[in-house]
Amino acid sequence: MVKYFLTRFLQFLIVVFLSVTLVFIIVRMMPSDPVEKTIAQITSTGTFLDPSDVEKMIKSLREMYGLEGSILSQYFQTWRRLITLNFGPSLSFFPTPVSSIIKESVFWTVGLLGVVILVSWTIGNILGVIAGYYSKKLPTAMKLLDLIFMIIRPIPYYILAFIFLVLFSYLIPAFPSQGAYSVGMMPGFNLSFIIDVLKHATLPALSMILLQTTMWFQSMKIISTGVTNEDFVIYAKYGGISNHKIIFRYVFRNALLPQVTSLSLSLGRIFGGALITEIVFSYPGLGGTLYSAIMSSDYNLIIGIVLFSIVAVSLGTLVLDFIYPLFDPRIRYS
């Protein structure tokens, strides 16, 4: 057990180390000087700047980007910023620090993603285990579901979200097209605000839930078809044990193990999907914020969000891995 936790924790540290290094390298490869780019951007908006002010600004910007000093000290600088969660000020919302922008948006992303994962994983797995158990003679309704899921499954997040947006916001204006709540609404714990938030979250959540449900459904179907052919399931059938008991106590509980592993491995992908979906619906989570940062070339914010995402996803994976032994007695008792 202890061995298992230690291994996973080590893995977590390695992932964070490697990916932060990767991000550092990518940022270093920026073809144009980000400082000059920023200055150019500011001057292009027509703001007049005194040449000496520009000089000062360049110096402070270089410090902020960690471009001062040797490569090695720049690299350590990146780590220091990550550990202290101090990514410097945002350029587009100057002088708000990047960390407080992230803090605000992460709430929306975590909320949306949490609901989506919980709902889609549950529905997908339950439908999947039934389809897998009866795969030899699938009921017609299941066959239809299987077909529909097979068609939806390969569609990328952006396209599906976009189709939802066009269908349910423009053609049939049933849901708002952007934001997390209506402009002018005062955030607070009251019914009208909550309804408003739910209304705004419906389309992004639905499009993600639909895609992920198909994903969990398909893999659960394949896994539980396999488990259904295992000796212990066949033997339980021989014992006359009722189908629903076999499905949930025998097939489901065993097929769940790879699905938990799979969830922890797919967390990165699911998170990526959420970013993209948020961009489509201009949802003010990390994705939406990232998009506006891209649009305004706010590199500080971009790097901050990317680094934060990597650590957050790795942490999520770590937590899931830590929960895993609850499902598998073979690890619990080794």
């Binding site: 991000v23 097979m150 990328p156 952006y158 992908r269």
Partner: protein, 288 residues
């Protein structure tokens, strides 16, 4: 002759025959792009914003381009891009997986640590970062290389575990007893078992590649002058095509994308089922 039998078997699977037909149609569209009367990067070659008609099959854009030909170019570029990415990442996956599985020891452990990290790495933010950093400088080949180097890990793992289990099978020993060298064992003995995984994962990798490319392009993070299904949508959206009623500018690329995704996916599902070694062994026995 053998290929023909395989093909006939596969065509009896409805999923395969649908996917195959659509892919053939899309490939034909991609091929006829060479016959296009207009260069894809020139604007204002046809009247603007004409709805679909016999003359302009998919209508024209606000940029004065014939959407049909743009879509043909886009399919070509998207397919080439997807194939390049898939090919590069397959090469990485096969090499890494085979070395890892066959060598073992420290080499294996390092490769596995690297691939485990890549698997749990959220790729979308990293790719968005790459896009944001390089912007227009990001041509399709560089993007393919970046994406390939981010997407080999999972399949390398699968290939490695296959090799590990194949290594334990007695036929590996028989091959060695027959005087075969390591490399020939890998290629003659293991490759036929690994092929189905490689095949199915190539198609899945293509799907992922097109999906990401489209997303990055729509966000304006790639070179918008290269016509792909993503950049076409990027232009349409930045010209507010839907608000202005130029619906076809959005409708056709999206439809083609969806068809492409579904057909490639169906091909991958049906082929990997068909190539599954257990099924193949059954068929071999049944041939006599």
């Amino acid at each position: 002759m053998k290929m023909l039998i395989y093909f006939r078997d596969l065509m009896s699977d409805k999923r395969f025959s649908f996917g195959f037909t659509v892919i053939i149609i899309l490939t034909v569209l991609a091929l006829i792009s060479v016959m296009s009367p207009y260069s894809p990067v020139r604007w204002n070659v046809v009247p603007e914003e004409k709805p679909p008609s016999l003359k302009y099959l998919m209508g024209t854009t606000s940029l004065g381009q014939d959407l049909f030909w743009i879509v043909c170019f886009s399919i070509k570029n998207s397919l080439i891009f997807a194939l390049t990415t898939a090919f590069l990442s397959r090469v990485l996956a096969i090499v890494a997986g085979m070395i890892s599985g066959f060598e073992g020891g420290i080499v294996d452990r390092s490769i596995m640590i690297l691939s485990d990290s890549l698997i749990s790495l959220p790729r979308v933010p990293v790719l968005i970062l790459v896009g944001a950093i390089f912007r227009e400088g990001l041509n399709l080949y560089i993007l393919a290389l970046v994406m390939a180097s981010l997407s080999w890990a999972w399949d390398a793992r699968v290939i490695r575990s296959q090799i590990l289990s194949l290594r334990e099978r007695d036929f590996t020993l028989t091959a060695i007893l027959s005087g075969s060298k390591s490399l020939s064992v890998v290629f003659k003995e293991y490759f036929p078992h690994i092929l189905p995984i490689v095949f199915a994962s190539t198609l899945n990798n293509m799907l992922w590649a097109i999906g990401i490319e489209t997303t990055l392009s729509i966000l304006g993070l790639t070179n918008p002058l290269i016509p792909t299904l993503g950049t076409t949508l990027h232009w349409a959206l930045s010209y507010q095509a839907l608000f202005l009623g130029v619906w076809w500018w959005v409708f056709f690329p999206v439809t083609v994308l969806i068809l492409l995704f579904i057909s490639v996916y169906l091909l991958s599902v049906s082929i990997s089922e068909y190539l599954d070694p257990r099924m193949r062994i059954q068929r071999i026995g049944q041939a006599r």
